[in-house]
Amino acid sequence: MSAALTTSERMPATTAPLKSGRKRRFPLGKSLVSLILIAICALTIFPLVWLILTSLRKQNTIFNGPFIPKHISFQAYPEAWSAINFGRHFANSAGITSATVLGVLVLSTLAGYAFAKLHFPFKNLIYVMLLATLMMPATALIIPLYLELKKLGLLNSQIGLVLLYVSGSAPFSMFLMRAFFETLPDELVQAARLDGAGEFTIFRRVILPLARPGIAVVVIFQFLSTWNEFLYANTVLQNTGSLPLQPVLFTLIGQYQTNWPLLTAGLTMSIVPVILVYVWMQRQFVAGLTLGAVKN
């Protein structure tokens, strides 16, 4: 009998495995907890509901009409599409976000693995230095970054923005990938080394296939962060045509007046891709799977 548990016996939370040693019977507790959970869910979904409802009503019924609007009209959606050239900025966002996610994935898996499994001098020093990325407030760096981009001639370009995003986000993803790689046994690496594989081959053929959960994590949240980012995009890109979606949507929030139906219609449309990416990642998950077990 193997002492080490196979992956099918030790899956993370979402598969809801049967735990034979922990059956509980608390009918009262169960309904109380269900109540709490329902309350939490209601609270968390409330803003989305408000967003959608507001996009369906006329502007002057938002604040003095009933919660469920009497007249529903989808007119705000085509209007939002054309008024702010939604299609083009959506494409910009898609391009910038995909490029950023890709960049962060490549950098963080390589770096995370290096810190987790390789040994070389000054390793910890470099690691701590990279973590410094997490320590400065973003607003303090706007002007220095702007000047840096200007020096490199990358101002007003989407490439410059992607580089900014990647360099700012890679260290944390790297931190996560490192923690993840550290749970993989050292024997894998050493066995491959003894078989004569070069370091990069080990990384590519042995380790990377096992990193799927970590990769999925990085994809979901890098996508989300980049898709929603506003401050840097707004500052670095001057040409309105190259702006991503979020800054353009926010121009609908005026100092004295806001076109709420238009804004919420635009926001609802912009949320769709994020939810899609999330659901797609969920669908990849297969219960009780033996994660790419090493085929010797």
Binding site: T14, P137, L141, E148
Partner: protein, 327 residues
């Protein structure tokens, strides 16, 4: 949480062979320098480090340098030594912001660690899992960007027509109704609620996974020994969550020290600096439309350096905790 994977090679013979190779290798490792490993290590890190140097390290150094000048945002900067830091010590707004920053960061950390943990425990001990639908719903506050949630919660907190006060009046607690965001006594708790709302679902999922990741055989053993559910919770679950909790605490602390978006969108630092933290104060000093019409980028940078130092402490704290947990 990172899934705990232990892979098997599937055969006993293989494992024995590996173990023997391991011992052989361990013996020889002291005598050879793994240059190829060094090269690989540095090469893998190269892109990250280069990007870091260009787009993070350089700008951070620039910001630190700025904090020793009184740059007005255009033209040449004049070196003023530690004048900005001295000014910080005498500036009543800065002093207040320091207190609020620490208070907010600590409160936020406690709330956003304890409450999700408690709820996750409740959910785990009574249910065995969360359905996909529930998990997706809990994810939603993360999708909505801070400007949107700030606007929505401003509407809820509106003293005259907001949902919260109207609800209070409807259930007879009308005397509790007040201007939540403009009463200095209630503004911070009100903002903390919004922050918790955004983080609850996610932190709860983290803890939930961590709880599920605890070895079930430990519970079985404890049950055999006659331990009650409560005892099992305190002696098995909590210790098992130590590492995750340390990470969550450190991250929350850093985010708390750096906080800007949510406070600025909801109150702009008001009323009268009651909710002003370092993040918002430095923003108004540099770009502010409602405070001082001269851009004071040198002074603003000094605040960012202080925030960085505070975050440094948070990181050290977490590293120290992690070391203790691993011993």
């Amino acid at each position: 949480m990172v899934p705990n994977i232990t892979l098997t090679t599937g055969s006993r013979v293989d494992r024995v062979r590996l173990a023997r190779q391991e011992r052989r290798r361990a013996r020889s490792s002291h005598r050879r320098l793994h240059y190829s490993e060094w090269v690989a290590g540095y090469t893998f890190l190269l892109p990250t480090v280069v990007l870091f140097a260009l787009f993070v390290g350089g700008p951070i150094l620039f910001a630190i340098g700025l904090s020793f000048t009184n740059w007005g945002g255009f033209g040449a900067a004049t070196f003023t030594g530690s004048a900005n830091y001295a000014r910080m010590l005498h500036d009543p707004v800065a002093q207040r912001a320091f207190v609020v920053t620490i208070l907010y960061a600590v409160a936020m950390t406690v709330l956003q660690t304890v409450i999700p943990l408690v709820v996750a425990v409740l959910v785990d001990f009574v249910w065995n899992g969360l359905s996909v639908v529930v998990r997706t719903i809990l994810f939603i506050p993360a999708i909505v960007s801070f400007v949107v949630s700030g606007v929505l919660w401003n509407l809820i907190y509106d003293p005259n027509m907001g949902t919260l006060n109207q609800m209070l009046k409807a259930i007879g607690l009308g005397q509790l109704a007040q201007p939540w965001l403009s009463n200095p006594a209630t503004v911070l708790p009100s903002i903390l609620v919004v922050s918790l709302w955004g983080a609850l679902g996610l932190n709860m999922l983290i803890f939930f996974a961590g709880i599920q990741g605890v070895d079930p055989t430990l519970y079985e053993a404890a049950q055999v020994d006659g331990a009650s559910r409560v005892q099992q919770f305190f002696y098995i679950t909590i210790p098992g969550l130590r590492v995750i909790t340390a990470i969550v605490v450190a991250l929350n602390l850093m985010n708390g020290f750096k906080v800007f978006d949510i406070i600025y969108v909801m109150t702009g630092g008001g009323p009268s600096h009651a909710s002003d933290v370092f993040g918002t104060y430095l923003y108004t000093l540099a770009f502010g439309s409602t405070s001082g019409s001269i851009p004071q980028l040198g002074y603003a940078s000094a605040f960012s350096v202080v925030v960085m130092v505070l975050c440094g402490f948070a990181v050290l704290f977490q590293v120290g905790l992690a070391r203790r947990a691993n011993r």
